[in-house]
């Protein structure tokens, strides 16, 4: 069997194998080491002996044996006989029947995700641990995707694991009263993975894993576990609807195409249909949450075959609901855009006033970029350019800064004069 085939099987099995081991033995670190050893054994044996009938069961059995061997030798040293006696035998970790197994495994991988999103961990640590343990990515892959040195990522993951041990986090379904908070935390972690992936698609060719794809895969799993959760359905829908634009959002020279200027024939229609269907089913069923509303907004955009057909009145209403539910300066900014599209640029500009006084927001490039666009709509070209110049100075995204510099330049050329060579994209500042 090929290395690629092996990796695919491995990626499919890893979270369930790890979940079963952590459930049975409690120790995250030791379970992961044992899992790595089982993979090495698989890499040696499967190509010659062929793929076992039940690869997951095979991996769990081999990894469990390693764990038990390890504890036996530790126990021999320390004389702690009772330790191994309390451990679950490997057979018990294997699900008995296929139909029962499906449910048990799904619960295990959900529990593992919730453990990785434990409140004792910071967001970056939750993200790293989730990608390592639940998505089964290698430390190197995660490090490259986040443009940090591999040693940094390795340390972040190992500190996260020891932090879990420190606070005595157990593998188990959280108590009912914590459950919804933990699911929300997990949803935020997955959304962060997605936005990181989606926003960096200009450099996608560089990465061996697309974070956006990983986030969608994990959110699908989460949704299978929690089909009744409107917010999880909303999150999956939001990801699908945003990701549907992937082919249209970057030009061949690497520059970004704003939503209004995208070639909508490049949008992925099956993804859009799936996303729209998910959010339409979720909205009427229960309490409406921020992810469902954002998905609904993305759905309205997706349903317009031309930018000028966009139903801005509906988007404005949805942003108003979102502002009631989860007020934030960024939502106010997005709402202002919708107001401008419905009632004209002056109405939108009025909404930006308070944001320009906000100490955090006024250093955010998007506020000034939006203001520039609204001033432009209003025919105030000079002021618009001044706003775009402020936005360019505050931008930290290289393609966005290039776009804003172009908008700030006098007599507004349509495209940048110098095309951006392909290779300039890999000069990510933190890669050195």
């Amino acid at each position: 069997m090929t290395t690629v085939g092996l990796e695919q099987v491995w990626r499919e099995c890893a979270p369930d194998v790890l979940a079963a081991l952590v459930r049975g033995y409690g120790d995250f670190d030791a379970a992961e080491d044992a899992m790595q050893e089982a993979l090495l054994a698989a890499a040696r044996q499967w190509p010659t002996d062929g793929l076992p009938e039940n690869p997951k069961g095979w991996l769990i059995t081999v990894a469990s044996r390693r764990l038990v061997d390890q504890w036996r030798s530790e126990q021999a040293r320390a004389g702690r006989e009772q330790l191994v006696a309390r451990r679950t035998p490997a057979e018990e970790l294997l699900a008995p029947a296929a139909d029962v197994a499906a449910v048990g495994e799904r619960d295990d991988s959900l529990t593992l995700l919730l453990l990785c999103c434990h409140p004792a961990l910071t967001r970056p640590s939750q993200v790293a641990l989730t990608l390592r343990a639940v998505a089964g990515l290698s430390t190197g892959q995660i490090a490259r995707a986040f443009l940090v040195p591999e040693a940094t990522m390795a340390q972040r993951i190992s500190r996260a694991k020891s932090r879990l041990q420190q606070v005595g986090a157990r593998f188990g379904v959280p108590a009912a009263e914590q459950m919804s908070d933990r699911v929300v935390a997990a949803a935020h972690v997955l959304y962060l993975v997605f936005t990181e992936g989606h926003a960096s698609t200009t450099g996608a060719g560089l990465y061996d894993v697309l974070l956006a794809d990983e986030a969608i895969r994990l959110t699908r799993r989460l949704q299978e576990c929690l089909p009744q959760s409107g917010e999880v359905a909303g999150l999956l829908s939001l990801m699908l609807l945003t990701d549907a634009r992937r082919a249209a959002r970057v030009r061949r020279d690497g520059s970004l195409v704003p939503l209004a200027e995208q070639d909508r024939t490049l949008w992925d229609q099956p993804r859009i249909r799936e996303g729209v269907c998910l959010v339409e089913r979720a909205l009427p069923t229960g309490p409406v949450g921020p992810f469902q509303l954002q998905a609904a907004i993305a759905a309205v955009h997706a349903e317009a075959s031309r930018a000028e057909d966009t139903d801005w009145a509906q988007i404005e209403a949805l942003y108003r609901m979102l502002l009631d539910l989860a007020p934030s300066p960024v939502i106010t900014l997005n709402h202002a855009v919708a107001v401008a599209m419905v009632d004209g640029p002056t109405a939108g500009l009025d909404r930006l006033g308070p944001l320009l006084q906000d100490p955090q927001m006024r250093r955010h490039h998007r506020l000034h970029a939006v203001r520039g666009h609204l001033l432009e709509m209003d025919g105030r070209a000079e002021e618009a350019r001044a706003s775009f110049a402020i936005a360019a100075g505050l931008a930290t995204s290289i393609p966005e800064q290039r776009y804003l510099n172009m908008k700030a330049a006098p007599r507004d050329p349509v495209r940048p004069a110098v095309p951006i060579p392909e290779h300039s994209r890999d000069q990510g500042p933190a890669q050195s």
Partner: protein, 130 residues
């Protein structure tokens, strides 16, 4: 979001930590230096444990620098230091934080006698389409 914390300092003689080689630093009693060291160690432990610390380097004396200018006929090398500035780049930290506010909170704690600490966002190749 990644940020770089640049430590500009004028230690004389050049040395690390720059705070003990600066005029302002020398004026402080040893107990205060010990206290500052403790606080700094605690900060480093905190940002390592949280996964926010990415990397850091201390730089050698600016006189050890070689400077390369560009001319149409090729590069032109001269011996350092780079500029006749009062302060030089003495070292840097790269941190990865959830927000600008958090980066500011961390960077503020790098302030030290005899220098200026500069926080700058790191540019990245991605971007959003809205």
């Amino acid at each position: 979001m990644k940020y770089v914390i640049l430590i500009h300092a004028n230690p004389d003689p050049w040395g690390h930590p720059t705070s003990i080689y600066s005029e302002e630093g020398r004026a402080l009693p040893p107990e205060q230096h010990e206290e500052m060291d403790r606080q700094f160690e605690a900060l480093l432990t905190e940002i390592s444990a949280s996964g926010e610390f990415v990397t850091a380097e201390a730089l050698a004396d600016p006189v050890s620098a070689t400077l390369y200018g560009w001319t149409a006929r090729g590069h032109l090398a001269t011996e350092g230091p780079y500029a006749e500035a009062k302060e030089h780049l003495a070292g840097f930290f790269i941190i990865d934080c959830a927000s600008r506010e958090r980066a500011e909170e961390i960077a503020a704690q790098f302030a030290q006698p005899g220098g200026v600490v500069e926080l700058r966002p790191v540019m990245w190749p991605g971007g959003d389409d809205q």
